[in-house]
């Protein structure tokens, strides 16, 4: 079989070249269809429960994605000075006119209403800051007004008066990078000495997408260049090293093209596919080429050398490719779609790279002019510096096998200790480096304000009992009425809307109804009125008081900067209606009192603001929670704290409480990912182990093959635990890479050791020979991949840096473990393994 393939390759090199070229061209043609997706929401499947709930809440309460603009004035007078206020007004007014900004929901000092006392017994609604005040008296009045309004205090102006913010709602979050640039242009054109900052999750996401796109164009080619230079250093033959480069390029193009062509969006994870595939694709080539160079002499026949090389390497290469692919395919077990796609395509890419290596490299080597390979004969790379060290390592590990084993055991123990300290945490804003303007803005604004990260605590009343009692009461009324209700009962309109419709209908009917029917219609109308009142759970003073109680618990948690709710609105309006004294800051005694206060609230310039807090039928309400940190950890802590609080002080039994909001969703996918990663790692581990047992037809060898990857994974995650680096998405995905690459080295090492031993039946000689070409190839591979990814360290995006750093570490560690631990283990188990 293998023989036949090689024969075909030797006879039809042009078919191979043509095929690879054609496939590359076809897939490359799909690359321009690329669609970038940076929405962390997509970490969850579209139909995921919490995600659907979040989007339902966004729709029900008209909640938009927000860009947050903050102005900071560090001088003693702070933001309350004529110049700063004028600048804020100008920025807000012009920002409201940007295409894609929802101007009627924009929040700024100049764009919200003030409710205040206007002389004795009189109240007034007016724009809070229609014109920028210039006199000290007017400025103080503005400051007092803001301090009196709980919805604005510490949200629009910081409590230290140093900063003011503008909340810019946008219709489409994919426009936020453009809109933030336009806002920046407005800020630049305004006469102001204040420091302006722009942040908010949508900006972070969209800007990240933009940067990611740039990085794909920079990092991956730079990595390619680095690999090229290293290969040049090792082989010093341009035509020779062109082969692995072609294999790597073709693999990346075909996989990315296929992925984009199949309609998958490029997410943060998939943007790194090229970076992951590049090293894995050259690994097999390096094995082939190292061995080729070793065996290739002046007089040797190229074809037979290649045959010998393929015969030696086919099996280990096939197995390493399959095991690496399994490592990545296992990612498909996580419930995170971008990670699934990443795993699927990297896994497929590894298999593709194997096929390309096996068919392309031999065809290429045979086709090259003989003279092109002449220089290779001068290479005695087994005598290079690197090989010298590697040989030393081999001798050391065999001689000192007990100390080596003890050493690795202690490293393992320390690593496990580190793993136990891992902090599971992520925050999309932290995907930028600390000095990125978005990180700076995030830091500064959260220092001054109650927090720029939103989460929503949603309270929903169960209305089923009210509905069924309504239908029961309506069914005994005049047939005209009961049949009308029965007919409309199953329409897709919600119950509150149906009540409205029935009310109109009843009134129209009443117009010319007589006697009994008229009485029944009157009764029906009264029933509807009464049902409407029952439905309106969040006009009830008790429930509003419960909301206030939840808010004070949120505050007591110490993790929440501030929360805003319908109760705050009701209390504020009630206070102003009752003369403005602080004692009147309370919930009215009756439901009608609440309704009448809210009717006043709606007589402002922004009546629609109410519907950000409560649905029109008053059956659900949201508490807007402002957090100073977008870390999943902090969100988790708030959620846990509130769960406990709610368990101790449960709401009225018909009310259910859930979380929504972007910060909360981030926490949800983080948790799903951690659980999913554990699952995928374990299953990959088991599958790889079974394959090893199968490959070596020995349980002992299977266990030995698993040693390097077990140690490396433990070490890497132990290191992450010790360094205090958060376990975030890129880190989680590294486990698959570690698993794939570490087992790769182990397979090559063990397979070759067994083959050599089978020939000479001498353990010491085998080890000596192992540290010639095979160990050299392994260390070469480790160095190529480790150094090849140093360009990633210069990327402005943290996930890229993380991947670059840990890739290098993984390579170094797993090569070290393979070359030190395996010989030591083989030596210790000599009598059992080498028979």
């Amino acid at each position: 079989m293998q023989e036949k393939i090689v024969n075909y390759i030797f006879n039809h090199p042009k078919v191979i070249f043509g095929g690879v070229l054609l496939l590359s061209l076809i897939t490359a043609a799909m690359l321009p269809m690329i669609k970038i997706d940076t929405d962390p929401e997509n970490m969850l499947p579209v139909d995921q429960v919490e995600r659907q709930f979040h989007n339902q809440i966004k729709a029900d309460f008209n909640l938009h994605d927000m860009i947050v603009v903050g102005a900071v004035n560090q001088s003693p007078e702070g933001i309350y000075n004529p110049k700063s206020l004028q600048a804020l007004l100008t920025v807000a007014t012009q920002t409201a006119q940007i295409e894609g900004v929802i101007d009627y929901d924009l929040m700024a000092l100049s764009h919200v209403d003030n409710i205040k006392q206007a002389g004795p017994g009189s109240i007034q609604f007016e724009w809070l800051m229609k014109q920028a005040p210039s006199s000290q008296v007017d400025i103080e009045q503005l400051q007092q007004a803001v301090d009196r309004l709980p919805l604005l205090k510490n949200t629009l102006v910081s409590s230290d008066y140093k900063a003011s913010s503008i909340y810019v709602p946008i219709a489409d979050k994919n426009q936020s990078h453009r809109i933030s640039l336009e806002i920046q242009a407005i800020i630049d054109s305004v006469d102001s000495d204040d420091d302006y900052h722009i942040t908010g999750l949508p900006v972070a996401e969209d800007t990240f997408g933009y940067q990611m796109f740039v990085q794909m164009g920079i990092s991956a080619p730079m990595a390619g260049l680095m690999i090229f230079l290293l290969l040049w250093y090792f082989f010093k033959n341009l035509k020779f090293i062109a082969a692995p480069m072609i294999v790597a390029m073709a693999t990346v193009i075909m996989i990315m093209g296929a992925m984009i062509g199949m309609g998958y969006t490029v997410h943060i994870m998939s943007s790194m596919i090229a970076i992951f595939l590049m090293p894995i694709a050259v690994v097999d080539s390096i094995h082939i080429m190292s061995e080729f160079v070793e065996k290739y002499q002046a007089e040797s026949d190229r074809e037979s050398v290649i045959r010998a090389v393929i015969a030696d390497l086919f099996k280990p290469m096939l197995f390493t490719s399959i095991t690496s692919a399994v490592g990545f395919f296992s990612l498909m077990l996580t419930p995170i779609p971008p990670v699934q796609i990443f795993g699927a395509f990297v896994g497929a890419g590894i298999l593709l790279a194997f096929v390309l290596t096996i068919v392309f490299i031999p065809a290429y080597l045979v086709t090259l002019k003989k003279e092109s390979l002449d220089s290779l004969r001068k290479l005695h790379h087994s005598k290079s510096k690197l090989s010298g060290w590697v040989k030393g390592m081999g001798q050391f590990s065999v001689k000192q096998h007990k100390s080596v084993i003890v050493f690795f055991l202690s490293v393992f123990a320390v690593s496990i200790w580190g793993v136990l300290q891992i902090q599971i945490n992520d925050n999309p804003v932290r995907w930028f480096k600390t000095d990125h303007p978005i990180r700076v803005a995030d830091k500064v604004l959260n220092e001054h304000f109650a927090g720029t990260y939103d989460a929503y605590l949603v309270l929903q009343a169960d209305t089923a009992a009210i509905e069924s009692s309504f239908f029961a009461d309506a069914s005994v009324l005049a047939p005209l009425i009961s049949s009308h209700v029965e007919e409309a009962k199953n329409s897709d309109m919600d119950f509150a809307q149906q009540l409205n419709e029935w009310l109109y209908w009843a009134e129209d009917q009443l117009f010319d109804a007589q006697d009994q029917l008229a009485d029944d219609l009157e009764q029906f109308i009264a029933l509807i009125d009464q049902t409407n009142i029952q439905l309106a759970a969040f006009k009830s003073p008790d429930n509003l008081a419960y909301v206030a109680q939840l808010q004070s618990a949120l505050q007591q948690s110490g993790l929440v900067g501030k929360s805003n709710s319908l109760t705050d609105v009701v209390k504020t309006v009630n206070r102003e209606l009752r003369g403005g004294a602080a004692v009147a800051f309370d919930i009215p005694d009756s439901q009608a009192g609440v309704a009448q206060a809210l009717l006043q609230y709606q007589s402002s310039h922004r009546p629609h603001d109410l519907w950000h807090f409560v649905t029109k039928d008053y059956t659900s309400t949201v508490v807007w929670v402002q957090l100073k940190s977008g870390d999943n950890q902090d969100m988790s802590a708030v959620v846990d704290y509130m769960a406990e609080h709610i368990a101790n002080k449960p709401p009225n039994q018909l009310i259910s409480i859930h979380w929504a909001g972007k910060t909360y969703l981030n926490k949800v996918w983080q948790e799903e990912m951690v659980a999913g990663m554990g699952m995928s790692l374990i299953s990959a581990f088991v599958v790889v182990f079974l394959m090893m047992v199968l490959l070596f037809r020995s349980v002992l060898f299977g266990l030995l093959a698993m040693l390097p990857l077990t140690l490396t994974i433990a070490f890497i995650y132990g290191l992450i635990g010790w360094l205090g680096k958060d376990y975030d998405m890129p880190i989680a995905v590294l486990s698959a890479l570690t698993l794939g690459l570490s087992v790769d080295f182990a397979i090559h090492f063990l397979q070759r050791a067994r083959d050599i031993y089978a020939e000479n039946q001498d353990f010491n000689l085998t080890m000596q020979m192992m540290f010639e070409e095979p160990a050299a190839a392994i260390s070469k591979n480790a160095v190529v991949i480790a150094i090849g990814f140093t360009p990633l360290l210069f990327a402005p995006l943290m996930p890229y840096i993380t991947v670059g750093f840990f890739l290098a570490t993984i390579m170094a560690v797993s090569a070290m473990v393979t070359l030190l631990m395996l010989p030591a283990m083989l030596r210790a188990l000599k009598t059992h393994v080498m028979k």
Binding site: A118, G119, F125, W127, Y504, R578, P588, A592, Q596, H608
Partner: protein
């Protein structure tokens, strides 16, 4: 002879229409919209619809008495629905040369309140109507310009004398030549994009007065709109002056609230 008469009639018509200056058109529109009869009452039902078709309802009776034709007038608005705001009352003394006087009564809070009315362009109880749409914008607040006319309508553009007092840059009106009612009013923002439209949907003759029975305000930004329907309108009922005093806040005049 007949011919000469016809020509004379024609000349007369032309002269009259030229005499119908812009001020006259506006003043007639104002009278037709807000001053029909010496007093009047109507049931009103407002349906507030948002861009997702969620509806809210407001029901009230509106009473009006003119003090001078085209001048000061008084309004009393008594709510009946939603039932939890039943008996909430607004009293407005509209002043042409001064700020209106407005009072409010909230029964559940047992609260009588003056409302300062420096700005009449706030929402009327959460609807897309402004207070000004209900009680009438003072024609003197704007500069009016006749853009064109055809057989049916005058087309007018009105710009505020004090641009800082309002949110629009200007508005346009289509005034029906027959009824003098502005049938469509459209408001333009600072970038001259239309963002708000007030339309008369249905007109019925009541006691000789063309009376708006249904009107609609659309907020083109939010995508929401409000429909206002009138029922049982009646004019010249001989309402007493004391219907429109602060006493009526707590004791609305029952006899005028129910339609005849």
């Amino acid at each position: 002879m007949n011919k000469i008469l016809n020509i004379l009639m024609l000349l007369l018509t032309v002269m009259v229409s030229q005499a119908a200056t812009i001020d006259h058109i506006i003043s007639q529109a104002n009278l037709a919209s807000f001053y029909a009869g010496d007093d009047g009452r109507s049931d009103a039902r407002m349906i507030i619809v948002d861009n997702k078709d969620n509806k809210q309802m407001r029901q009230f009776v509106i009473l009006r008495k003119d003090l001078t034709e085209g001048g000061d007038q008084n309004f009393l608005v008594v709510f009946s629905r939603p039932s939890d705001v039943k008996d909430t009352v607004f009293l407005v003394h509209k002043k042409v040369d001064d700020e209106d006087h407005r009072w409010l009564y909230l029964p559940a809070l047992d609260l009588e309140k003056r409302i300062s009315s420096s700005d009449n362009r706030t929402s009327f109880v959460g609807s897309d109507f402004f207070y000004e749409d209900v009680s009438g914008r003072n024609p003197q607040a704007d500069l009016h310009e006749l853009l064109k006319q055809d057989d049916a309508f005058y087309y007018i553009k009105s710009s505020p004398k004090d641009p800082n007092a309002v949110e629009f840059k200007y508005y346009t009106m289509q005034i029906d030549k027959q009824t003098h009612l502005p049938m469509v009013v459209e408001y333009f923002d600072q970038s001259e994009a239309i963002y708000r439209r007030v339309e008369v949907v249905e007109v019925v003759d009541v006691q000789g007065h063309p009376t708006v029975m249904k009107s609609k305000v659309s907020n083109l930004k939010t995508g929401g709109y409000t429909l206002m329907e009138f029922r049982r309108p009646a004019y010249d009922l001989g309402m007493e002056d004391d219907v429109f005093t602060v006493r009526s806040l707590r004791n609305p005049p029952k006899n005028w609230l129910s339609g005849q």
